[in-house]
Amino acid sequence: MKHISLIILALFTILNLFAQKPSKAPVTTTFWVAGVCGMCEQTIEQALDVKGVITADFNLASNQLTVTYKPGKITEAQLHSILNEVGYDTEKSTCTDEQYKRVHGCCMYRELEKH
């Protein structure tokens, strides 16, 4: 009985060690992204169809993007820059005017905010 307990304990300790290794375990993060319509949602989610991203789900009603990614393959900063690249501001970084022009005409969220 004791042996079994010891083995189990050893096993969990090993598993925990693996779990704590930051490069292995996927991380889920949620942050704000500009975006006003279903088309924005599609563009945002599709832009994050890159290596290292397991899921990307944009909630249009709340402007919150939930991303699960592998930290060993991609960094959070990269996620933000990818979104800037397709023309979308995020809570941590704003895209340049040049990048913003890539957004489709009907999705020009900066203009919509001004109205």
Partner: protein, 782 residues
Amino acid sequence: MRLLLLIGLIFPVLSSHAQGLSGTVSGEWSDGKKETLVGANVVWKDTRSGTLTNEQGKFHIGIPPGASELVVFYVGFQADTIAFTGQKEINVTLKQSGSGKEVIIEGERASTYINSRDPQLFQVMNEKELCKAACCNLSESFETNASVDAAYADAITGTRQIRMLGLEGKYTQMLFDNIPAVRGLSSTYGLTYVPGPWVKNIYVTKGVGSITSGYESMAGQINVALKNPDTAERFHLNAYAGSGGRTELNLVIGPKKEHDHEEHEGEDHEEHEGEDHDHHEHHKHIKGSLLAHGAMSQLRTDMNGDGFLDNPLFSNLSLRNEWHFDGQSGLGAQVALNYQNINTISGQLQYNPSDEARSLLWGVNTQTRRYEASAKVGYVFPDKPWKSFGSQFNALYHDQQGEFGYKSYNGQQRSGRVNLLFASRILNESNTFTTGFSYVFDDYRDTLANSKTYFFSNDYILNRQERVTGIFFEYTLKVQDKFTLVAGLREDLHNAYGALFTPRLHARYSINDHMTVKAVGGMGYRTAVLIMDNVGMLASNRFIMIEGDSAPSHKYYGLDIEKSRNVGLVFTWKGDIRYRPATLSIDGFITDFESQVVVDYERPGYVTFYNLNGKSFSNSAQAEFQWSPVRRFDVRLAYRWLEARTQYKDGLRDRPLVNRHRAFANVAYETRKKANGAQWRFDATVQWISRKRIPFVINNHGEHEKEPLSSWSSDYWQVMAQATYVFKTNLELYVGGENLTNFMVHDAIIMAHEPSSTLFDGSLLWGPVFGRMGYVGLRWML
């Protein structure tokens, strides 16, 4: 020892919590009830930094410098702003907002998905699913669906028919845009009239459907949403050619999309499709669409070598023209016109209907023409979006003439239907109802005659008229997002069968965020259309006998109206497996006939119709698992079991040609989309179909089968695969193969070498007669 173990387990969980602000968010409904809100937004004001509440309604948020106010909001509730003064915990209760506007958010969605929100609906198949099979018409599109079996009607005409819960397609009500269609003379062939590229979505209901569309759905309901002026592409062209000699051309033309591309400068991103522009209102008041379909097959093939054509030669032309009128002040109307012209030839290889020598050969030659017009007029009360008035009108003329071997058939159907609906609510928005009135008129002129004098007489004139007046009331109770109940009652007065009472109940309960249970129960009725319901029997020299009761005389041919009870239970789990979305659905259904017109093939050389005297039932169970383990890769596994038995004259037997087991696996993969929209799409399906009971036959050597009263077919595997290359978003090319295992039924036609025998029979087909088939196609959209 145990303590250590526990610490080992808990430690990593605890260590993930750092300092910050935590709390819970709950919502208070207008009736005072409270519940925790899952996925509510918690955001620091003016910072764009925020989070969502978890499954217990809890949140944890980091504190950015200068944070002073926390904004909490959730769809359907009033947002709240809370001052932050360094608290460690904040608990927020949001009040329900006045407008119960529902916002539907779509994420990555599979091409077929189990619906867990609507208590009546089971499954939705979209356009993408319909592209998976060669899928020239609707009956073929169900090859990748576990709930609907695509069965073969007979070995000669090559038509497919569907089956739900082990029961023939006639027991499933077909709706086109919510209007009952494919009824009466078209009950078997009907699905083949609908070309796949016309379809936007298919909504599958297992078990009885809503009473608002009549008493007919007994085993299920399939509502097909066709492309209309609101959903049609500006231009969509589909061309298809199969190695079986079948060629097709489909065309969809929709109104010009009103997107103001010119107003904005900048690059034109082509990967965005027009339908996704949901924040633009259409201002046009009249919009039209045109759907066209032409198909032809003139290649004579006989892969199983029985001297008969595997697939019929045919030429089809179908047109649909639809108009939508959006008037001001809540008034709207839709009008659709349909035309179909279908000619088929099948039978012996050398058979040619224009040939004088044809009388020596066994052949089928049919001409079908169909005209249909339907209209919907609706009115929504201004400022009361929950109160509306709707009306549906439908008129149809169907004419079919044909020669089936030594029999000739001539049938006409004239039908009219009016359905008036009024929807409103009682007290508040959780109690809604739909009530109304319906009138259905059907006039059938049905004649079956012998065309050969030496054959003993088997003539029938089956004319009849049905007039059914009905009233209905359907009440819906919605308790938050947790529980929905739909209770429906309808009372119909049938000119021949008197009063028909139809109660139905649908309930849905969300156990938690992931699990849903639905329960279904109700009754259904149907009058049998003897010849066309069982058109497969005409692919034989079977002698047709109607043995109805002699009294009372008001019944059509002495036969009862078919009446069934149906109950079912559906369990659905939706969640994540390894961070990726997955769905598991398990269901069970029982259908029990109180009265039925039994179609008896048990005696060789005869088909006998008589009233059920004893049991007739179908029990089915199904499990379906769907998972997308990595992005753009989907797996679907399904298994379905059923037991369908009927009391025939000589005993309770399995319904013929129904397989007890069916299992299938479907995998779909897409490559990452390039900037111009280019990508590859792959799809493959493997399915296993278990043995089927074949009624008593005398085999091709004139001997009885070993088992005295019936025999069993073998089980078989089928594989189909497809690859699509998308050049850019508007141009796709696809190649595929069907029946890749090349499985064929070789002795599908009994006494094929002697078509003049009374035992000649092509009506008992249990598998494909056509072997491996390849096809290519193209889709071009503007």
